[in-house]
């Protein structure tokens, strides 16, 4: 679009609807409340990680964003539209964990079939190229690896040129190389301004690829911010040192400024707090402590502290 430099300040544009708006979203399965009054707004252009342990309600929420499941309560809008309409208009596309592919079709046929279902579609050759699967276009889907099938799903999701791309645990079951290739393709795509919402339980994926992390547990948002902001929520550092007469020192350590937690395990004292310098100074000058270490707590600590769960086993 051209820009006229001499033009007077443009009138305030009409507020564009957010990419995703969830308000009080609720979904129950029998006695289990999978999504429990979840609120979330994703603005256009954001790359948002939906991070949480298995069973946090991520997939159920995404199903409702895509109109694959009906909420029991609350509201869900995609670009101000009901999800099914947004899907039909090609505004939102998704790479799902569960969506199966037909083994008897080739990669190119699958993409061609999908392209034909949309009113508007990018050329098949182009999306295969962008997903990095041009070389296997004539291969039967049944003969493709999990990572290749996932990149085919990604290519299919690119066909309608969606404003919003939703990815549900997109790299589950992929090997390291497959994951890296997949994210390279996604990241290259997101740089063109596409909004991306991806669910994951891999901390490093959220950390590496998202502008914003939405931490969910028990069907609710428990934290929302940049990776740095989420880390800061369980702020501070941990100071550990060998302390021969630890018991006697505990009370004074607890009284130091910014100290949140003090624990003695054997002869090693663990002090968590915001002012690690003060703790270290005290330990080294006023006690017999030695072998002192200061470590910063990472996203993983925040994750555990906020979701009350340990990270899933790989």
């Amino acid at each position: 679009m051209t820009e006229t430099t001499a033009a007077p300040p443009a009138p305030a544009p009409t507020q564009a609807p957010p990419a995703v708006r969830l308000a009080g979203l609720t979904k129950r399965f029998g006695a289990v409340t999978a999504v429990d009054g979840l609120d979330l707004t994703v603005r256009a252009g954001e790359v948002v990680a939906f991070l949480g342990p298995n069973g946090a309600g991520k997939t159920t929420t995404i199903d409702m964003v895509l109109g694959l499941a009906r909420p029991d309560g609350g509201e869900v809008e995609v670009y101000g539209l009901p999800p099914r309409t947004a899907v039909a208009h090609g505004l939102v596309a998704a790479v799902m964990q569960t969506g199966g592919l037909l083994k008897d079709l080739t990669v190119a046929e699958t993409a061609r079939l999908t392209a034909g279902l949309f009113a508007h579609s990018r050329p098949v050759a182009e999306v295969l190229e962008r997903a990095g699967i041009t070389d296997i276009a004539d291969r039967r889907v049944g003969k493709c690896s999990g990572g290749q099938q996932q990149r085919l799903r990604f290519a299919m999701a690119l066909l309608p040129e969606p404003e919003l791309l939703v990815l549900d645990e997109p790299t589950t079951g992929m090997d390291v190389e497959g994951r890296r290739d997949f994210w390279t393709a996604i990241r290259a795509d997101a740089q063109k301004g596409r909004t991306v919402l991806f669910a994951t339980h891999y901390l490093e994926e959220a950390d590496a690829y998202a502008d914003r992390i939405v931490l969910v547990a028990g069907g609710k948002v428990v934290a929302d911010g940049t990776a740095a902001e989420i880390r800061a929520l369980s702020a501070g550092r941990e100071v550990t040192a060998t302390l021969p007469d630890g018991e006697a020192e505990l009370a004074r350590l607890r009284a130091l400024p910014g100290v949140e937690h003090v624990e003695l395990r054997g002869r090693t004292v663990h002090v968590q707090g915001t002012d690690s310098d003060a703790v270290a100074r005290h330990l080294l000058t006023a006690t017999a402590a030695h072998d002192l270490q200061i470590s910063s707590r990472g996203l993983e600590d925040a994750f555990i502290a906020l979701t009350g769960r340990t990270e899933e086993t790989r």
């Binding site: 679009m1 199966g100 008897d104 034909g116 279902l117 009113a119 508007h120 301004g193």
Partner: protein
């Protein structure tokens, strides 16, 4: 960088006819044709049965407006169309089992357009089955009948197979199995037997003959042979076809609605 939508954003609209397209239909037919098992049941087995049942040996015996060979041929054309449409319709079970129907829900394709495509693809296979039996029996098997009987019998055998396309869809939604045809195959053989497609029903006892009139292949068989022989009750046959189409069609529609509500 602004946070507004991409400048290349295309005009957003939903596709016409719920996403139904001839391209999609053509690919569906191609998948069916490419499936070796489907092709054997549709194209190889019915003409093979024609010769196996001795269809070619009745060329000298006349029957109505043609010969007995033509009688056998029409019955087996109905059988072929029945197998072809049922197995094509039952493909939805495979697609549900692997999650393809869920993948399709990420596109504008409306469930009704999906079902319409499946039905039409099944009917294309039915047409192929009828054509193959007529061609083989007519050219190599000595079947003879009046020209208009070829046309009308062929059309009836084909259109009547809609009953079985509906049965296939119903089975596809009832049985979430990848091997749905292993269950349907024997069932179809029994239905074809009771429908008088393999042997004339006169060979059965009275009880079975009466019972057979209520089975789903009976009506189509009688209707398809009627232009040749003028045998059977038109009313009974039409009622049979309509009733079974409604039963299978409504059953499939109900299961289908439950399925889309869940997915």
């Amino acid at each position: 960088m602004t946070t507004t939508a991409t400048p290349t954003a295309p005009a957003r609209r939903a596709p016409a006819m719920g996403g139904f397209s001839l391209g999609f239909l053509a690919l569906e037919v191609r998948r069916l044709v490419r499936n070796r098992r489907t092709l054997i049941f549709t194209v190889v087995l019915p003409p093979a049965f024609y010769f196996l049942f001795g269809g070619a040996s009745y060329a000298d015996q006349s029957a109505g407006r043609g010969n007995v060979s033509a009688y056998v041929m029409i019955s087996l054309a109905v059988y072929g169309a029945m197998i072809a449409t049922t197995s094509a319709g039952a493909q939805v079970s495979v697609e549900r089992a692997v999650g393809w129907s869920r993948q399709l829900r990420l596109t504008p394709l409306k469930p009704a357009a999906y079902i319409a495509t499946k039905l039409l693809a099944a009917m294309v296979m039915g047409a192929i089955a009828v054509a193959v039996v007529f061609l083989v029996a007519g050219v190599l098997g000595g079947a003879r009948m009046d020209a208009w009987v070829w046309v009308v019998s062929g059309l009836v055998a084909w259109l009547g197979a809609l009953v079985f396309a509906a049965l296939g869809l119903l089975a596809g939604y009832l049985l979430p199995s990848e091997n749905v045809m292993q269950l349907l195959g024997p069932l179809l053989a029994v239905l074809a037997f009771l429908g008088g497609l393999f042997v004339p029903l006169d060979v059965l006892g009275d009880t079975f003959q009466t019972l057979a009139q209520y089975t789903p292949a009976y009506g189509v068989g009688v209707l398809a042979r009627m232009p040749l022989t003028d045998e059977g009750s038109l009313v009974t046959a039409v009622v049979n076809v309509v009733a079974w189409t409604v039963v299978f069609g409504v059953g499939a529609a109900l299961r289908f609605r439950r399925d889309t509500a869940r997915v």
